[in-house]
Symmetry: C2
Subunit: 551 residues, 2 copies
Amino acid sequence: MNILWFMCDQLRYDYLGCAGHPHIRTPNFDSVAAKGVRFNHAYCQSPKCGPSRMSAYTGRYVRSHGASTNFAALRVGEPTLGDHLITVGVDPVLIGKTHMNADVEGMKRLGIDEGSDIGIRTAECGFIPYVRDDGLHPHVGKDDPDYFEYVRSHGYEADNPWADLANAAEDENGNVVSGWFMRHARKPARIPAHLSESAYITDRTLQFMQGTLKDRPWVAHVSYIKPHWPFIAPAPYNDMYDSSQVLPAVREDHELAPRNSVVRSFQNEKYSTAFHRQEVRDTVIPTYMGLITQIDDEIGRILDYLKESGQDKDTMIILSSDHGDYLGDHWLSEKQLFHDPSVRVPLIIYDPRDEANKTRGTISDTLVELIDVAPTILEVYSGTPLPHIFEGESLIPALHSGSNTLRDYVVSECDYSEDNARRDLKHGPRECKIRMIADKRWKLVQYEKDYPQLFDRLNDPNELTDIAIEREHQDVLLDMHNKLFEWARNPKANICTSDTRITQSDEAWKFYDSRALAGFPIGYWSEDEFEREVKARSAFLKKKCEEIKEP
Amino acid sequence: MNILWFMCDQLRYDYLGCAGHPHIRTPNFDSVAAKGVRFNHAYCQSPKCGPSRMSAYTGRYVRSHGASTNFAALRVGEPTLGDHLITVGVDPVLIGKTHMNADVEGMKRLGIDEGSDIGIRTAECGFIPYVRDDGLHPHVGKDDPDYFEYVRSHGYEADNPWADLANAAEDENGNVVSGWFMRHARKPARIPAHLSESAYITDRTLQFMQGTLKDRPWVAHVSYIKPHWPFIAPAPYNDMYDSSQVLPAVREDHELAPRNSVVRSFQNEKYSTAFHRQEVRDTVIPTYMGLITQIDDEIGRILDYLKESGQDKDTMIILSSDHGDYLGDHWLSEKQLFHDPSVRVPLIIYDPRDEANKTRGTISDTLVELIDVAPTILEVYSGTPLPHIFEGESLIPALHSGSNTLRDYVVSECDYSEDNARRDLKHGPRECKIRMIADKRWKLVQYEKDYPQLFDRLNDPNELTDIAIEREHQDVLLDMHNKLFEWARNPKANICTSDTRITQSDEAWKFYDSRALAGFPIGYWSEDEFEREVKARSAFLKKKCEEIKEP
């Protein structure tokens, strides 16, 4: 079996037809949901591209892999899904974005040749890079992406095809305008849809799948750059939705005076204040929706190819996103913080095997984390779940039996040391930590340098009212606090020792002092005592054997 | 300047003359204390050889480096003091024990050649191994230590010089008996003192120091295997102390019925029950003391050489141990748990530089951790304290100005997954975590699967009474609990990003939107707005310049 693991960038959990959005059209997402399982309570491990993805690709929380900001490198030696797949004979192929920053210093320290296969995979978060493209190419220079060449090979010329064509438009006078400026969001990009970034990623994926016969199974991470900003789409997607289809912002005036200064600082960010204005929402959100439908169409091309080539019965499909986008909800935009529009993600998995027949088309309410994807994928190829490394859990039981008991709470983290909030509030570089812990009812957001927030999602499903200060909820606050402490003190750090390694001598210990027989007879006063001990253990062994013979 | 970092194995904090032991003779430890600083509240990060040393050599807590048991490998890529020293042009040399288990799988995954310089250092915890010897050689075979050869080269022959000579004795009939059996502890080892393991480590150290001219400064980790068991000493050290000099066991009957099952399980270990008997203590402890005096003599030989060769003014000396030994206190022996005899360690530092003149011969009450040694050493050679990697703090301020404000609490951890307690109590391999947090008055020991312990060291300096259950101490329990939570949620995981890297654009942000100028103008509605923003920032810059000109 092969696996296609699709990831979108900044796609909210609720902007899909199958997730209940009343206007958006995502027939291909919906079709995968109809034959797979849609996990309706999936959370990313950091509402930021880099750390969220490093968690997804390692199956480990941010506090464990350490790459807590968008600029932070993933430390060399941090084991990735790609490493585990290579070990079991599966190729982990990358087509698109990872946000990986290589630990160049660490690689140098360990003498790893950047040009070797291992060096390349180490720098690419464990993936074999068929295409690496993180999007966002405002500058031209020596690191021009393959996408520039791709656009040019189709007859479109520009100094910077990304900035001048794919992320630019033309105004009423024919002047070229930049896609960065959101007032242009409804204008069509200066490139046909079939040459846009999303189409490019699809083309390269099809090229990979149609390429030379593979002698090993593969997992392809197909990682689209959209609907991440700049908010500009090619025709017809720029004009597919209009402001009448923009849902009202989920926010109340009282939220503009939060007790928490970090929240206030993010609300004051330029990107947030822009979305305080309805004009911005009415202009940008239809395009955000168009970009999503475009990706849906692109995924459709790949699904069609799977069907045509007869691969649909032996290809698992995973649809996901790295985090959401506030789009003005709670007076915020972008992501970073922990309301559901930011931290909750779509996750749909189609397992073609018969064992999954029972759950097809179902919605799972299990609390799921994005770190569950890596162990799920590994379990397809190997019986070894690596519970000493992965902090996520395999979703195979949920896919095969509808098991609903994965975990009691989800956790997500944010490090705002590279955000203006740190500068605003004069917090130290290592103090900018926020952690969210949530079950289906309660959500606690704990700030290293600020007041906590608590939301009651049963009585306040939109998370509008922080009740952390209310007397009657102090017990809940303490309970969630204790659960967060439990999580915090139990990182999986001893990644070199498997559970089997630990328990391997347990049987032996029942019959003799293993330590002594290994040459370390600790605690014995005399040879006699040692002799007696061995005899006593032998008697036990003899009795055991008799019990087995005559139960 | 060069540095000699001595480490003993299983040397209690209080078994030194300068630490107040009424009988033991350690004139060389005392002489270093007299010209340096003796840190009287130093704690190891795990009362077990392996994890304690991995913390010492990385400057990081066990929960961060992950090697939490004696068999656990240190993950490849975990940065060590040796790595940092190499970077600043200093050779980190090893002579003796580290308890390092190489992450062979990880090295293979990263293509690191085990035979290369980098491969050797990676497998040796960052050190250049002049001699690696962890002691404990019950078996002969292909991995025979250099020590076998050393003994033989001095004319002593045996199949296993370690087991048959250095750790064996002869009974009254001339039969060879094993040093494992503690009843023989007072008999002399079958080897002269100058060929024992401690002498061997000293000889190799002198050989290293006298060897070919070094063109780079060096830090030599001189790491003795003693006074760790087997408890057997060569003459005259076997007979240097007698049972009249054995201090009474610090224990009370009520401690034998602890609320905590993990403690009870360790009290029931063979090595503990042995020390419940006074006969065992009276036999073993004099030899334990003899082994310490022997190491003191050995260190004296090196101190003499420093003086003779004129190196005493440019060689820093650090005396330390990896953990203590209960020796029957609290009905325990060995280490593992968190009473002071186990978790508190000796730490004496002599800094020959004039800046340290003010503190010579003083005792520091600062709360110190063994992870402070690595940053202290690095600071000698480099201004870069690496606070994003080290979780310890440099002791240079304490050495130079007597600064007494290093930290509010110390933390130490134990993972008993490889101990009988796990098997006894049927705890899972990942549940066997204990953490201690202590300030000078209170000590909380928190067990993942058991009741906490709390000690009031002011009113109960011997930690005889667990008061965790007492109503009037619930506030303290909560306070220590909260401090442990603070510690637990703030590991230094983002080891690839320095503070400087984070704050480098702060100045720029005061004058313009750095993000925008880097090519990512997020949140702008229009070109006009962008223009206005740039102008506003320029006006701010202009005003700033004027302020500077005319304050």
